[in-house]
Structures are given as C-alpha cells and as structure tokens.
Symmetry: C3
Subunit: 159 residues, 3 copies
Amino acid sequence: MSEKKLAIIVTNGTLDWGYPPFILASTAAALGYEVQIFFTFYGLQLLKKKMNVKVSPLGNPGMPMPMGMDKWFPVLGTAIPGMESMMTMMMKNKMKSKGVASLEDLRDLCVEAEVKIIACQMTVDLFDMSPADFIDGIEYGGAATFFEFAGESDITLFV
Amino acid sequence: MSEKKLAIIVTNGTLDWGYPPFILASTAAALGYEVQIFFTFYGLQLLKKKMNVKVSPLGNPGMPMPMGMDKWFPVLGTAIPGMESMMTMMMKNKMKSKGVASLEDLRDLCVEAEVKIIACQMTVDLFDMSPADFIDGIEYGGAATFFEFAGESDITLFV
Amino acid sequence: MSEKKLAIIVTNGTLDWGYPPFILASTAAALGYEVQIFFTFYGLQLLKKKMNVKVSPLGNPGMPMPMGMDKWFPVLGTAIPGMESMMTMMMKNKMKSKGVASLEDLRDLCVEAEVKIIACQMTVDLFDMSPADFIDGIEYGGAATFFEFAGESDITLFV
C-alpha cells in the first residue's frame, strides 16, 4: 500500500492559526504521510525567517482571556494599543510554560520531516515580498501546483 | 459498499462558525455518514455545557448588520462596548424567529446521531480547561487521533 | 479515468477570503476538474451582482499594511472609521496594478467554466436576502445538496 498524503492550504498569518497546520503536518509526517503545505495570502507570514506573527483578540470572542482580563477590558479593551502584542506575549509564555513547542520549532520539525513547503508566487509578487526573507528549502508555485498533489491526497484542508 | 465518512476539525469558537460544523455533521449523520469532529483551540468553547459563544462583527465586514445598524455605527461602532453581546442576541433572535435550531440543539442532535466528538487534550491542558465543564460522552485525543479517522474519510474539512 | 472533482464550502464574505475559492475553482476547472461551490452564511455576499465586499485589517494582524501604515496607525488605527474602506481601496488598486483579476472577473471565469454554484437556501431565508440580488445561473440547496457532490469529490475544502 502506498503512503497516505496530506495537502494543506494556509491563508492565515496569525500566531494561533499558525499552530494547526504545523502541528497537523508534523504529526502526519511522523505517522508516515507524505505532506505538502501551500502558503498563500497572509499565510506567507509564517514562512518568514523572523516570524513576527501575533494572536488577535479582536473579532475573536472565542479567545479565552487570561487572568480575567475580559472583566477589566470588555470588548473595546481588545482594541487598546499594545493589546495584541501583550496578548501575544501572554499566549507565548503560556505555551512555553505548558511545554508546547514554539511555532518556529514546529516549522523546523516539518522541514526536517521533509514536509514540502510551497509559497504562492502570485502572493509574493502581489505584496512585493522578498524571497530572501523566507526560510530556506521552500518552493514557489501557483494554484495548479497545489492541485498536482492535492488531487492525489487522502486529506485536504484549508486553514 | 461501506458507509461514507466525514472528518471535521473545528478551531473556531464563535456562534457563527459554530453552526457549519454542527449542521454539516448532523446532516451527514442523517445521510448515513460516520462522522467525527475534532475540537481544538477556540473550538473547545463549543463543547462547554453552558455554551457562551458570541458572534463578532469586529473584523468581519461580511456580516450583514440588522436594521441598518451599519449606517448608525459604521466600522468603529462594532467596537462599542456591549456591541458583541447585542449582535449575538439579535442573531439568536433572528435564528429563533426563522425556525433555525439553536447551537445547543444542533449539538444534541449530533450526539444523538452518534457523531463522535473528540476534544484536543493539548488545548485542554494549555488553557487549563476543566473537562467537567464539557458535555458528556466526548473523548480526548491528539492530532494522531484525528488522523486515524481522517485518513480513511471521504470528506475532510477544517473549520 | 473519470474526471476529478473539487467541492468547496464558502462561509466568509470578505474581499480577501473571496479570492481563494474563486482562484482555486477556476484553476481546477481549467485543469479539467468538475467543480461545485456551496456558498453559505457570509459567503453569500460573494454572489451578489453588485459585490460590495471589503478586506478587514481588524482582527487580522497577519495583513501586511501598505506604505508603513502600521507605524502610523498601530492596532487601534485599524478601528478608525473609514479604515476598512481605505484598506479595501488600497488592496484593490494593488491587485489591479499587479495584474491580478478582480473578484468579479474571477467569478465570471468560474461561471464560464461551468463551475456549479449553489446558494444555501437556509441562509438566504435567515438573512432575508433577495435572490434577485444574486448573479444568474446559480442553484439553491441545503447541506444535503452539498454532500451529494462532496461525498464523491477528490478534494473538499472549507473556506
């Protein structure tokens, strides 16, 4: 039996939505899956060498606020300048204290496990992004590149 | 022919993004599908006995504002304290008046239809959530648990 | 060998999350796929003849701010009245200058390529939307309609 395949498209570029694709991809690779991730739109933020991604409490009432902050800063509080950075720091500290790997570490794990990473060329051009800012070992392609692999995959996910 | 399978990962914990997975899962179950939903990150909010989820007009310009509210409160209006609660109440009332089942009812329907519900153990630990707060009859697992079922599924969706 | 199939559910109704489904669908159709897109919840905004969708920098720290605007308007800046419209205009101009097709053009391309478009009847009823506002040639259905096609598809995506 040939190995199973997992294809993921990542369009989000936030800290919290960066975790699922890298956790899923590294787990699948560990289970013997062949994995490809296609990064497009805001998802390309996750390929930068210096990843500077944040969580956003704005527009996400599903986010649990640490330390009763929701009592202190209801709704509008999440729009206070510096709040995104503060929440991002708190989330990172929480993850560290709980032994959850950083996004960078999970990404390294994926690269080591030979997860194929493809950056959307159109988005790179659109936002005038510099390939030099991205991690090494990635490829560039378009939607057709994604379909080559996804059309043969057992699991396809849009994150 | 063996029955078809649907695997869903839910990472969102808002009222509006709670509907699609429960509607899809209950419909698929009614059509004879075997269904599993893996709840992770903010998605775990949807498993609480007392579901306290909200819609968020913030950062979602796609949300139709009822009663011309967008004229009264353009953009910044959606950040006014209490607006999320107000919009949530209005959305719930609208759904009730239109005969759309509540999220809790749809969840019950899924449980009755033997949709298998799995809570992400890592997230539970990360946010110090208490399993006692969750509905009964759910299981706990990790990404590998998800792949066991998803790898054999006909449809896989990331919500 | 029978042709491959792609099934997409679209729940988002913003300019930026409108691109992926139309790009993926038109590309897949060009590659010989049979394609169906099921539009539900906010996704129905993308079916209006006069598409009036916006990007939202709110709650999306992954969005690159053009021209160093993030230095001028950190975080709270994205909640300033008129900012969504301004960012939307800038994004549209950027895409135009880079030769990226407009959302309307990509949608036309999908219709011409015989991508089947299904509008969620429940959502139309829920938000009191008028079918007369939608483009021609679409069908109406529910979750069960989606499963008819998705259950036989090679790729299923939830956008």
